[in-house]
C-alpha cells in the first residue's frame, strides 16, 4: 500500500516539476488538498470581507462618478469571492462548511480588512495600495499549480486593474486639490502603507509554509520577493503624487537595484491576525448577521424552485 502512495507522490511531483496543472479529479497528496482548501477559501473570504470597508463609503462618495466606480468595484469583489469559493469546492468541501469556518473564526481572511476606513481618502489608498499589493500576489498566482485556482486568478487579474486605477485616480484628484484634500491623502497613506506591506505575510525566514509551497508550485515567488516588488513599483507612484511614504529608512539602493526599507512591526501583524485588530469583531459580526438575515431568501428561493418543479411534473405526468 505504501509503495503505491510513494509511486503516486513521485508521479504527482513529476507533474508539478514539468509545469503541468493539477486538476480536481487528479490524485493529490492529502496535504496538498488541505493546504489548498485553506488557502483558496481564505482568499475567497478576503474578497467578501473586503467588500465591507469600502462598502462603508458608497453612501458618502463625493460624486456620481466616484459612486458608480466604487459600487462596481465592490460588486466585482463579490464575483471574485464566487470564483474562489467555486475553486475551493472542487476540492471536496461545501459552501456551507466554508461559511461555518469563517463565521466561527476557524478560517482567516486577509488581515488588511481589519482596519477601518476613516475618510474618503482611504478609498483612494485602498484601491492604490491594497489592490496594488493584491495584484502583485495574484499575477504570481496565475501560474500556481492547481488549475481551478490559476484560472480564477486569470479572471480576477483582468478585473483588478480597474480597481487600482480607480484608487490612484482618487489619490491624484485629492493631491491636486485643496490643502485639506492633500492632507487627507497623506494621512490615508500614513495609515495604509505598513498594513499593505504586511499583506505579503511574514518574512521568508519566519514563514513555515513557504518551502513546501514553493516545492508544490503553490507559490511561485516568496513573501519577501513579492513585498520588494511592491515597494519598488509603488514608491515612484507616491513621489508622483507628491506624498511622503511614512518610512524614514526608505532609500534607493543603487547596488541592489531595489529600495531598502524600514522594519515592519510584526507584533502588530500577529495581533491583528490573532483577532485583536481594530475591526475584527465588526467584520465578523457583519458577515454573520448578513448570513443569518439572508437565510429566509435562500429558503424561499429553494421552496419556490421545488414548487415549480412539482407543478411541471404534475403537468407532464
Amino acid at each position: 500500500m505504501s509503495l503505491t502512495i510513494d509511486r503516486l507522490e513521485e508521479e504527482f511531483q513529476a507533474k508539478i516539476d514539468a509545469g503541468q496543472n493539477i486538476e480536481p479529479k487528479d490524485w493529490m497528496p492529502e496535504k496538498y488538498r488541505k493546504t489548498h482548501i485553506r488557502q483558496i477559501s481564505q482568499h475567497a473570504h478576503s474578497e467578501i470581507v473586503g467588500m465591507l470597508p469600502e462598502g462603508n463609503w458608497i453612501g458618502r462618495a463625493p460624486s456620481l462618478r466616484r459612486k458608480v466606480a466604487l459600487l462596481a468595484k465592490v460588486q466585482d469583489e463579490a464575483g471574485h469571492g464566487l470564483y474562489l469559493y467555486s475553486a475551493t469546492e472542487t476540492l471536496g468541501i461545501s459552501r456551507d462548511e466554508l461559511f461555518e469556518q469563517l463565521h466561527s473564526g476557524k478560517a482567516k481572511y486577509s488581515s488588511i480588512f481589519n482596519y477601518p476606513t476613516l475618510s474618503w481618502a482611504d478609498i483612494g489608498a485602498i484601491g492604490w495600495l491594497v489592490d496594488g499589493a493584491a495584484i502583485i500576489n495574484q499575477v504570481m498566482l496565475t501560474r500556481t499549480s492547481y488549475g481551478p485556482y490559476a484560472r480564477a486568478m486569470v479572471r480576477i487579474c483582468k478585473e483588478e486593474s480597474f480597481h487600482q486605477r480607480q484608487g490612484y485616480e482618487i489619490m491624484l484628484t485629492l493631491c491636486r486639490g485643496t490643502e485639506v484634500q492633500k492632507e487627507l491623502a497623506q494621512d490615508a497613506l500614513n495609515r495604509w502603507w505598513w498594513p499593505s506591506l504586511m499583506m505579503f505575510g511574514p518574512r521568508d525566514a519566519d514563514s513555515t509554509h513557504t518551502e513546501q509551497s514553493m516545492k508544490w508550485k503553490i507559490k511561485r515567488k516568496t513573501n519577501d520577493e513579492l513585498r520588494q516588488q511592491f515597494i519598488d513599483i509603488t514608491v515612484p507612484q507616491a513621489e508622483f503624487l507628491g506624498l511622503t511614504v511614512p518610512d524614514p529608512d526608505l532609500k534607493w539602493n543603487e547596488e541592489r537595484g531595489h529600495y531598502d526599507f524600514g522594519a515592519i512591526d510584526w507584533d502588530e501583524f500577529w495581533q491583528v491576525v490573532k483577532g485583536n485588530g481594530p475591526c475584527n469583531k465588526e467584520r465578523l459580526d457583519a458577515r454573520r448577521s448578513a448570513y443569518e438575515n439572508g437565510a429566509w431568501v435562500r429558503e424561499a428561493a429553494m421552496a419556490y424552485a421545488e414548487k415549480q418543479e412539482q407543478k411541471r411534473l404534475a403537468e407532464v405526468g
Binding site: S94, R298, E299, A305, Q308
Partner: protein, 95 residues
C-alpha cells in the same frame, strides 16, 4: 432537496466575435432562471458575451484523467489525419 443547498451550475458564454460557447465558471442557484440571471450578473459585467448556457453540473460527464492514456491513445499514431503528412510541391497554390 435541502433548503439551503442550491445545486451547482456550469456557465458557458459565447462572445460577440466567438464561434463557440466557452466554460467560464460555475455558481449555485435554486433553479435555471436564477442560474441564468446570476450568470449574467457575474460573467458578463464587461460585455463578455452575447449568449449564455447554464447547465446543471450533474448533467456533465467528464473523462477520467486516470484513463486519459487509453482514452486518447487511438489518435496518437495517426499522423495521416494531419495536412502536413501530405507532401506536395511548393509551387502549387491554394491546396
Amino acid at each position: 432537496m435541502s433548503t439551503t443547498n442550491w445545486p451547482l451550475w456550469e456557465v458557458f458564454i459565447r462572445s460577440k466575435s466567438g464561434l463557440e460557447h466557452r466554460h467560464v465558471g460555475s455558481l449555485h442557484a435554486a433553479d435555471a432562471k436564477m442560474a441564468m440571471e446570476n450568470a449574467r450578473d457575474v460573467y458578463t459585467r464587461r460585455q463578455e458575451g452575447v449568449s449564455i448556457w447554464v447547465v446543471p453540473s450533474s448533467a456533465i460527464t467528464a473523462s477520467n484523467p486516470a484513463h486519459s492514456g487509453e482514452l486518447f491513445e487511438p489518435a496518437q499514431d495517426k499522423a495521416y489525419r494531419h495536412p502536413t503528412f501530405y507532401d506536395l510541391p511548393n509551387e502549387l497554390k491554394h491546396i
